[in-house]
Amino acid sequence: MSEEKVQFGGQPVYTREVGRTYGQIDSQLVALPIIQGSALDPTSLFRYWLAQMLILRPMPSLISGGSKGDTLEPDAQVTNLGAWFSGLMAHAPSAYAEVESYLKQVMPDLNDIKNPVIGRDARSLVVQFSSEQGGVTPPFEDLSDGEQCYMICALVLAANKVHGPVLCFWDEPDNFLALSEVGHFVMALRKAFQFGGQFIATSHNPEAIRRFSDENTLVLYRSNHLEPTRVRSLKDIQVGGDLVGALIRDDVEP
């Protein structure tokens, strides 16, 4: 750190030069982010909220259950799912109950999820299933793409509960799911975010689209690549009859 300064209307309100300490902050550290980090400061609250945002477009083929370290910030493709699981469990062990509760609804034969140490600072998720016929413990990457998405959904629900409210933007959450699961999947997310946080999804899937209403659906449309995308609330668009039918006919233009 050589110098840091904050000016308001051209007038310096805070300056700090090389080698000077600020309170207990070491002279080598930049102090502003620490000073500004008050829990009551609206800017800090907004920054914290932004940092909590989950932007997801999972690619199950790139996801493994392996991890080094932990995080509360999954990458967009959720390739660091193992680290996200570790981070949530470290942040709040009660997150496990949330994860298990959801997963047992969608996979009733789920028995346990373990994240054992497999090397120096390395862990690997395994999922244990059991029934009257016996048990099986596949590594996480051997789960189907849809089952991996159930796990992501479970972690989103847990994240909103244990360190939320979070904003979750999920690009096509219906991807990789069985047709009979799409509606349940979307409703579980909508239900969980009803009283805190915000869930935003994009979709082309009729089952997913039907689980929302005119008031909470935005239609995005562009007629060619040179025009900006137009965005309009579905309630402002007069759609006669069945919405999905109109979408199939491409008759819904903002």
Binding site: P108, H184, M187, K191, R211, F212, E215, G241, D242
Partner: protein, 142 residues
């Protein structure tokens, strides 16, 4: 895996988007652990289509899955005889597992009457069920 067919579950067959959204609102009020006991099916496209779908697809399935209940969500369009007409299409053996519900006129009128969006109306109906009240259900348009 969808709904567990070995446990009591309910399929809702809505006439149109408005009824489907009423059902969405209802489902959002269900306890998360029971959310999967209810599934809203694609819209049929009319009250008569609801009954035709029911007869063509669901009677056989209900005979196979004895813990299945169905709600046929139709508009009555102010027609007294529609309920009797609909009931006549339900086999006697299934009558205690099939329920015919709907707006007395059409859901658009509920919205116009200031009851809120379809989802809000559906949620209010579910709350009445849970709390054993009759606030939304007693509305003259239902």
């Amino acid at each position: 895996m969808s709904v567990n067919k070995h446990l009591p579950h309910v399929l809702v067959l809505p006439e149109d988007d408005a009824n489907s959204r009423l059902a969405n609102g209802f489902q959002l009020q269900i306890d998360p652990a029971r959310l999967r006991r209810m599934q809203v099916l694609p819209v049929a496209g009319g009250w008569n289509e609801v009954l035709e779908h029911f007869v063509a697809d669901h009677i056989r399935e209900m005979d196979l899955h004895t813990r299945r209940f169905m709600v046929l969500l139709i508009d009555f369009d102010g027609q007294d005889e529609r309920l009797a007409n609909a009931r006549s299409r339900i086999p006697e053996r299934l009558r205690d597992r099939v329920f015919i519900l709907g707006a007395w006129s059409e859901p658009e009128d509920l919205k116009s009457a200031g009851l809120g969006t379809y989802e809000i109306i559906g949620s209010a109906l579910a709350r009445d069920c849970r709390e054993e009240t009759d606030v939304a259900w007693s509305h003259e348009l239902l």
